[in-house]
């Protein structure tokens, strides 16, 4: 039996049904549910004491740097996969192109190391 795109319509119907069901439940509980508010009741729970300011604190930039550099080099690795599969077919020409590509990224990597961006201190 040849499968076609039309075979996946039941999945789409299921998906729409689930979305409508969840939205419906939330809407029903919002409109039918009890509403009892007071200023103190709606305030954030702070173990009974008064809340001072918000909870934001300064955030170390090293986490961001590690994550973003990982993404960059991971994308480079993704480009290496098709080359690895078709290594022989690409020949010397492909090798030279890939070496140029990785070389440029290597310059960037060298810069990162020299600047100490990966220093976790």
């Amino acid at each position: 039996m040849v499968s076609s795109n039309l075979d996946f319509i039941p999945i789409l119907i299921q998906f729409v049904f689930v979305a409508v069901f969840i939205a419906g439940m939330i809407a029903v509980s919002h409109y039918v549910g009890p509403k009892r508010h007071s200023k103190n009741k709606d305030a954030n729970f702070e173990c009974g004491v008064k809340q001072y300011g918000n909870a934001r604190i300064p955030f170390s930039v090293k986490y961001f740097l590690v994550a973003i550099l990982f993404v960059l080099f991971d994308v480079e690795v993704i480009f290496l996969y098709p080359w690895a599969v078709n290594f022989r077919d690409f020949g010397m020409d492909g090798l030279w192109k890939m070496v140029m590509f990785m070389g440029l990224l290597l310059v960037g990597f060298f810069y990162i190391i020299k600047k100490g961006a990966l220093e976790w201190e």
Partner: protein, 183 residues
């Protein structure tokens, strides 16, 4: 099936072949009374007795209080166990106010009920000066059996409470008398 398992009695209703019709209040009351999640507000010695009550020997969990929570949003009953100082009273009031309805309060021990032996300038003479209380458990400290008895009395209260009580004017008046104004 073992013979010594106590089953919950079904409420009065019309039973038939494959159906049972009763009033929603009764069923909801039954369900609520058998699953009261406590918020342990343990301050002093009564808190230690509560720890013994939660421990396997006396086991509060078999009464439905399987999940104690320290967040008022997710708890049904506030168990105040221990001496509440006057400095602690606003904290207790805030915690009570932030609980989601339906909510009940048990004052465990003499200090929570009336200040206990500490009739002094710093001790609140009973938590019912700041929040409405449903059950008082006397004792200094009460034995775990007494705490369980208090919770069972609360279960009776919960079973017979109407679902509309929290919207009633009497409830609003009760809260207003403590300075809690629910809109």
């Amino acid at each position: 099936m073992a013979e010594n398992i106590k089953m919950v009695e079904a409420p009065e209703g019309l039973a038939g072949e494959g159906f049972f019709a009763t009033s929603l209040d009764k069923v909801v009351g039954l369900a609520r009374s058998k699953s009261l999640w406590p918020l342990p507000f343990a301050t002093s010695c009564c808190g230690i007795e509560f720890m013994a009550t939660m421990a396997p020997h006396y086991d509060l969990a078999r009464f439905g209080s399987e999940r104690p929570s320290f967040s008022p949003r997710q708890a049904d009953m506030l168990l105040v166990m221990g001496t509440i100082a006057k400095k602690m009273a606003p904290v207790l009031r805030q915690v009570y106010e932030q609980m989601a309805e339906p909510r009940w309060v048990i004052a465990v021990g003499a200090c929570a009920s009336s200040g206990g032996v500490f009739d002094t300038y710093s001790v609140l003479q009973g938590i019912d000066k700041v929040i409405p209380v449903d059950v008082y458990v006397p004792g200094c400290p009460p034995r775990p059996e007494q705490i369980l008895d208090g919770i069972m009395k609360l279960q009776e209260l919960v079973k017979n409470e109407a679902m509309s009580r929290r919207d009633s004017p009497e409830y609003k008046e009760l809260l207003a008398s403590y300075g809690i104004n629910i809109i």
